[in-house]
Amino acid sequence: MTSRSLLQIDGLRLSIGEQPILHNISCSVDAGKVLGIIGESGSGKSMTAYSIMRLLPQGAVVSGSIGIDGDNLLDKSEAQMCEVRGDDIGMVFQEPMTALNPVLTIGDQVAETIRIHTSAGRREALSVAHRVLERVELPPGKYPLSRYPHELSGGQRQRVVIAMAIALKPRLLIADEPTTALDVTTQAQILSLLKKLVQEDDMGLILISHDLAVVADIADDIVIMREGVVVESGTVRSVFAQQTHAYTRQLFKASSYQPERSTITNVDDNLLVVDNVSRDYRLPRTSFFSKPGYFRAVDRVSFTIRRGENLGLVGESGCGKSTLTRVILGLDPCQQGSIVLDGEPVVAGQAMLRDTRKKMQVVFQDPYASFNPRHKVGRLIAEPLHLVDQSLNTKDRAELIVNTLLSVGLEASDAEKFIHQFSGGQRQRIAIARALITRPALIILDEAVSALDVSIRAQILDLLSDLSSAHTLSYLFISHDLSVVRSVTDRVLVMKDGKIVEQGETEAVFTRPSHPYTKRLIAAIPELPVTD
């Protein structure tokens, strides 16, 4: 260490109640530099940030020292901390949709930072807010200060949160997963904004993320945390090059994981044919008598999935991919076009043949919302059996349940447990078991690995790939995460505003995108530096 750091954390320990959260954390940030803190869920990375801000839940006990310019923040009184927060240290949060007060204008919320810490009046503070919003590239000419948060998109709201945090040019900015809830192109913009602000204000930045690639792009130093312990730290270059600790290597491997897959042989065997499909949504009536309005969420979409093929579908939030999923699954009707699965038409409602319906199953994103909490696992995964024609006797049924559980890497005894006894990764295995039990030909994976930590994600991708070759399964792999799609699919569709703007062989699309939107998407993907 050449000079004294801006922020110096030494031997930080934290426990909440009886539960130890952080063990002996030490790290530092210099002015004008970016420190990336990386970790999976439960690593204590966010709690480190809240310890610095001293915004911890009740019952938290902290020890060690958090020095900013030689002052130990842990020695300060609550009143002194209120002066530090927002003035010396600013903070940006993960969820921009809920981080702003819904009943106050964005101008007032940014101006508040200024009015709390200075003697500026409302008008003066608003004019400062005006300049700050310009700095975060949310020009008040286009987005007036009188806007309310609900009138802005997620990325725009995150800019407002950043404006509040940097309004007084703090010396340190803490950003806790600032781009996790955002689309990939917005993520790229927010990251470059943060980088620009760091340089202009000579500010220190702590960037907390679960995503190695995000941090790799902009951080100078990096700390890798696991279960409340720093496992490795140093400059980004040295950590990436050396990977001293086994966990670091594991994390790197999992982040760019590519499961082994057999490629399909039969090119002409179409399993699913989607032809010119459109879906209009009826907007909620504004009053009892007014005519409902319509919104076209899926616009004349055509594609096919071959037997045994992995097809990717990528697009940003609101592009219509969820709606398309619902139409393919026969949950919603389409207003135009046709869908044929294995030679039989897919239609919404009860009209679809059971035999057709059982050939297609789905795995959802949220492992916590995907199951009825009141049923045991055995009953949960047996639900689709109701589609299987021959009535199974109790013994066969139980055997089928056990075999299916075993095939996804769970145990026979798990059938008698309730869903809350399982972790997120295990739940995703149960969701796959439920999809598998009717021996379908197609499984739609709707962001099925997006909510999982990278190491768990790698395991699930392996499982999916094994199952695919064992049962000649096709997957429709829907994700906003382009790097995962790239590593597991044969062909890919790019969707924007309800339309498929580009489709083709995955590698070809990623290396030579033709549509400008695809180009932008791919350019925005944060990439890990190549290490060997």
């Binding site: 209120c82 002066e83 927060r85 927002g86 003035d87 949060f93 009943v103 106050l104 508040e112 945090a165």
Partner: protein, 314 residues
Amino acid sequence: MLRFALRRLLSLALTLVAASLIIFVAIEIVPGDPASYMLGLNAQPETVAALREELGLNVSKPQRYFNWVGGMLRGDFGTSYTYRTEVTPMIADRLLISLPLALYALLLSTLIAFPAGVIAATRRGSGADLAVMGSTQIGIALPNFWFAMLLVSLFAIKLRWFASGGFPGWDTGLFAGLKALTLPAIALALPQASILARVMRSSLLDTLGEDFIRTARAKGLTARQALWRHALRNALIPVLTIIGLQFSFLLAGAVIIENIFYLPGLGRLIFQSLTQRDLIVVESVVMLLVFAVVLVTFLVDVAYAIVDPRLRRK
């Protein structure tokens, strides 16, 4: 904002039309003819016919419905079957007691509940919180008419601070009038204040757990500043719903409480009319009560939109 209010106003009008139909049809099911009932069994057919003419009963039922609604729109509620006088001034006099009573009670209830709820929420788990939670638990279980009786026996009969009932009339002065309404208003307000204080407390606690409160604290606001500047206004949204609902309870409660304090309000009028089978009065008072409830619902909707900008666009 204006379009929002207009749309709500339209829905208010529709509700009133539907409600008036229900009330009219319900009362029309009553067997027997009011004119014959009023004149007794031995009345001459000519006299009955004359009275039917006078009461407007000799036209078809749809016509009578339109006459009734049309009359109300002009402020004419018809002629009382029992007293043979105009219903409108009768109701207007009574309304001058019932409405102030309900509003007085609403004001008291809000004035008690807001501070109690805020104190309980900000000092969660403290003695003050426990006291608020305990006393409101009992307050909610208290039937207001029983509480009114206890108030009368303590403050009117034992301590003689208030009269045990009756109303001196507004012309004896605002103070005398308000004094006569004080015990009834307290009886009405306390149980409602208990509910309101609890809603205020839990709504405030929920809001204090929101992400934007954390954001505010990260800006450097103290816990107290975050409460006053950010939590309170958001917490108000569910509280408004309850205030709206309470008004209809208070109005209905006022109708009951008036009987204990011998207040000549709508409540006394409607129960007299019920026993005398003066159905035109019953019909009109019921319509008036429904109108008041619907109007308050409308006002609460507008208040929502003022508090919550997200609702203005819809």
